[in-house]
């Protein structure tokens, strides 16, 4: 309902009418869509067909995919340039939820509350993961600027066989859907590590890069009830007016916990924790670096995005287990609002539209097609892209997708406990400082408290 409050709902309907008229003209319209590089390269035709067949896109609208840069930062820069220069193509984009907000702020993308039909807006409002949709909404006006295409959030992957060999029973304890605490988990990890002939007990990503700031550190910190800016409500600003809370107990504790995992360093509050089962290599790892040992059978636990489930399942089949990311502090005990409990950092992509496009009507049609459940399931099947709406997780189709179908339950739990990165205009400046300090702390360059104190002052500087 908030979306509809945008005020131009009627216009949306009108647009729909015009659109039909256009289609009646018999002229085929080609819509260019700035899309994922790999997928556009490998499956452009399939997806285009699916849009028509599964999404019911009219035949006179053709979709042409234009591959964006694989690196999300470069893609952002590219779209920024194109929009800045008033380019009319691509007509629509696939944008990282991590930076849609900035395009909104700059007024560079099409207000979809004006373009889409009420019906569509309602669907999004009611059926989509709201935490995810939020990253495509202008916090000030509440207007919608992006339609979620697929969310992306991590789970904890693990080797069921090894854990079971160490005497644990994941099935019985419902690890797949019931989050466990870091303490419990770390003991499982440490035990299994001692027991199994593997190099690593746990692999994750902790390099100095965006992924640490947005995700791995964010998750651990949130699961301890910590937050960068005082809680969920302040994620998207307002910059300068929100508290900076990195130098707080939960955040420091979460870093100490990572230190314990890596160096088996002693901390008072972490006495009961297992430690020393992971490697300082995580300090230089991003996704693929940390995934490789896991798929090669050299690690027990592994934190990664859903794509990793595909990769690992093909190696281990049923021996692969997933669980929501463990937590340290339950939601109700969390120091900062909206944190605590299992937390998965939120990634994923939205569909946005180019306001300069000559084919906005056709764009709306394509968006409509992409919102069809059949199409979303098709994406889950072919690309492993999770549907943006919760209910599809329970669908039969979803369950039949191999191998993802086996893990939909974990994914659904994780999807309901996501934490977006605090994207604002200054996020990129902040994230590099965050990653740097988080890395330094876990590298024992300085104490976690000192690292966070430094980070605090840096962030204060940035927020002004």
């Amino acid at each position: 309902s908030e979306l509809l409050g945008g005020g131009n709902g009627g216009g949306g309907g009108g647009t729909n009418g015009t659109q039909t008229g256009d289609a009646g003209g018999g002229e085929a319209t080609t819509v260019t869509w700035g899309f994922d590089a790999t997928v556009a390269q490998d499956h452009a035709d399939e997806i285009s067909t699916a849009l028509h067949e599964e999404g019911g896109l009219a035949d006179d609208v053709e979709v042409q995919f234009e591959q964006g840069q694989p690196d999300t930062g470069e893609r952002r820069a590219n779209y920024n340039r194109l929009l800045n220069a008033g380019e009319a193509t691509p007509d629509m984009f696939m944008m990282d939820n991590g930076w849609v907000n900035i395009f909104i702020q700059r007024g560079q993308i099409q207000n979809l509350s004006e373009l889409l039909s009420d019906e569509q807006l309602t669907t999004i409002d009611e059926e989509y993961f709201s935490g995810f949709t939020e990253t495509a909404i202008d916090p000030e006006s509440g207007d919608l600027f992006g339609v979620p295409l697929y969310p992306d959030y991590p789970t904890m992957l693990y080797r069921k066989d090894l854990v079971e060999a160490a005497g644990y029973s994941p099935e019985e304890n419902n690890w797949a859907t019931e989050p466990i605490t870091w303490e419990e988990w770390s003991n499982v990890a440490a035990d299994t590590y001692d027991n199994a002939d593997v190099e690593y007990g746990f692999t994750t990503q902790w390099d100095i890069y965006e992924g640490t700031a947005c995700c791995t550190f964010n998750e651990v910190m949130s699961s301890w009830g910590g937050a960068y800016f005082g809680g969920r409500d302040n994620l998207f600003g307002p910059v300068g007016e929100r508290p900076i809370t990195v130098n707080s107990e939960p955040v420091i504790q979460s870093l100490n916990m990572m230190r314990k995992f890596v160096h088996d360093e002693d901390f008072e509050n972490l006495q009961g924790y297992g430690g020393g089962f992971t490697t300082s290599n995580i300090l230089g790892w991003i996704e693929d670096g940390s995934l490789a040992p896991f798929t090669n059978g050299n690690a027990i636990f592994h934190r990664n995005w859903p794509y990793a489930i595909n990769a690992a399942a093909s190696e281990f089949g049923d021996d692969l287990g997933t669980m929501p990311i463990p937590y340290a502090v339950p939601e109700n005990e969390a120091q900062f609002q909206g944190t605590g409990g299992t937390t998965s950092a939120l990634g994923g992509w939205h569909i946005t539209a180019n306001p300069n496009s000559q084919n906005l009507d056709a764009v709306a049609q394509v968006i409509d097609a992409s919102m069809q459940e059949e199409f979303q399931l098709f994406l889950l099947e072919t690309e492993g892209w999770l549907p943006p709406r919760s209910e599809l997780f329970n669908s039969e189709t979803a369950a039949n997708v191999d191998p993802m179908g086996n893990y939909m339950n974990t994914l659904q739990v994780a999807g309901e406990n996501t934490m977006a990165r605090p994207v604002t205009a200054v996020w990129s400046d902040e994230s590099s400082a965050i990653a740097e300090q988080a890395n330094a702390a876990v590298n024992q360059d300085l104490s976690s408290a000192d690292a966070m104190a430094q980070l605090e002052s840096t962030l204060e500087n940035i927020e002004g």
């Binding site: 590089a37 591959q67 590219n78 340039r81 008033g86 380019e87 693929d288 995934l291 490789a292 798929t295």
Partner: protein, 338 residues
């Protein structure tokens, strides 16, 4: 080493006493040229090893299957008389030459190569022509403002490429007119060049021009006046003398400027990736764009990138081998008596 040497001694007992090393030293002292030669080969091999080792590493990466790439040591354990030891050289983990095929299957890599090749050739030609004229002016003519102009041209290269890109990008979209800086007064609307070779060749030419100008200036300045004089008396214009005598005689310099420009453009990434708005070969995305296509959001196919870069480097190697034929010494030998 030691054993066969002693046998040598037995075979030729009349040779001077002492081991081969001593004999070598003996001869070396008589003929320092030998020492020099030996030293030379040592240095040469050192350079070869240090420059080629990373390529070997690249090959190891290319041949290792993607799945095993980021896990496990590249230094195999070898059995050394019972004791396990680490082999000091990285060796491919597995043998997967198919990477060199996948490179072309996953993306039309040859098209990216062609793009870069075409861009590089065009730019090189333009740069050489313009820089030759400028090099002639700077190297062989005396005129007021020479030093200042050279410094000015050099100053272009002080700027990070980012300083040029936004205004150029805007201009090349052809959407908005070019305005006089610091004002809103429009001058003209340039043609749309995005995703065409023009949007790349033009900035490349400008950005790689200073180096070539400086190289050619130096080399043209070294050609004795006498030869230009001779050509002019024979009936060439000054430009004729430039192309018929000075450039051929500066071949090492020209070839070097050409190689440097070619390679720089062939591997250029910053501008081309901006002027080609997507990583599509059809948009004139360059070689590096192709190589980067083996990255996806979360994974990097290092083996394919390695294979692709080996493939991509080959034309350059050929070019260098061919072009260096021009880098021959003694071009002016026998020309002058002075």
């Amino acid at each position: 080493m030691a054993t066969p040497d002693r046998r040598d001694d037995r075979v030729e007992p009349d040779e001077t006493e002492g081991g081969p090393l001593e004999r070598w030293t003996q001869r070396a002292m008589q003929n320092p040229e030998r020492v020099y030669r030996a030293l030379f080969y040592v240095v040469m091999i050192f350079f070869m090893v240090t420059t080629l080792f990373p390529f070997y590493w690249l090959l190891v990466l290319a041949l290792t299957p993607q799945s095993r790439l980021l896990q496990g040591s590249f230094l195999p354990q070898i059995d050394l008389f019972g004791a396990a030891a680490e082999f000091p050289l990285p060796v491919a983990k597995g043998f997967n030459p198919a990477a060199f095929v996948s490179v072309f299957e996953q993306v039309p890599f040859h098209l990216f190569m062609l793009n870069s090749f075409a861009l590089a050739v065009t730019t090189t030609v333009i740069v050489l022509v313009i820089a030759s004229l400028a090099g002639y002016a700077f190297g062989r003519l005396d005129f007021p403002g020479r030093g200042a102009l050279m410094l000015g041209i050099l100053a272009i290269s002080y700027f990070p490429p980012a300083a040029f890109v936004i205004p150029l990008f805007e201009a090349f979209t052809g959407n908005v007119p070019i305005t006089i800086p610091f004002t809103e007064i429009p001058l003209f609307t340039p043609p749309r060049l995005l995703n065409t070779p023009g949007s790349m060749v033009i900035p490349f030419s400008a950005l790689f021009l200073p180096l070539s100008i400086f190289i050619l200036t130096t080399f043209y300045a070294q050609i004795p006046d006498g030869l230009e004089d001779a050509a002019r008396v024979e009936g060439t214009t000054r430009i004729g003398a430039l192309f018929r005598v000075i450039i051929p005689l500066s071949a090492p310099g020209v070839a070097t400027a050409a190689i440097l420009t070619f390679i720089a453009v062939y591997n250029e990434y910053f501008f081309s990736t901006i002027m080609a708005t997507s990583f599509a070969a059809g948009n004139w995305s360059p070689l590096v764009g192709g190589i980067l296509s083996y990255q996806t959001q979360y994974t990097t196919q290092f083996n394919l990138m390695a294979a692709a870069s080996i493939v991509g480097v080959l034309p350059v190697v050929l070019l260098v081998v061919v072009a260096q034929e021009r880098i021959v010494s003694g071009l002016t030998a026998g020309a002058l008596k002075e």
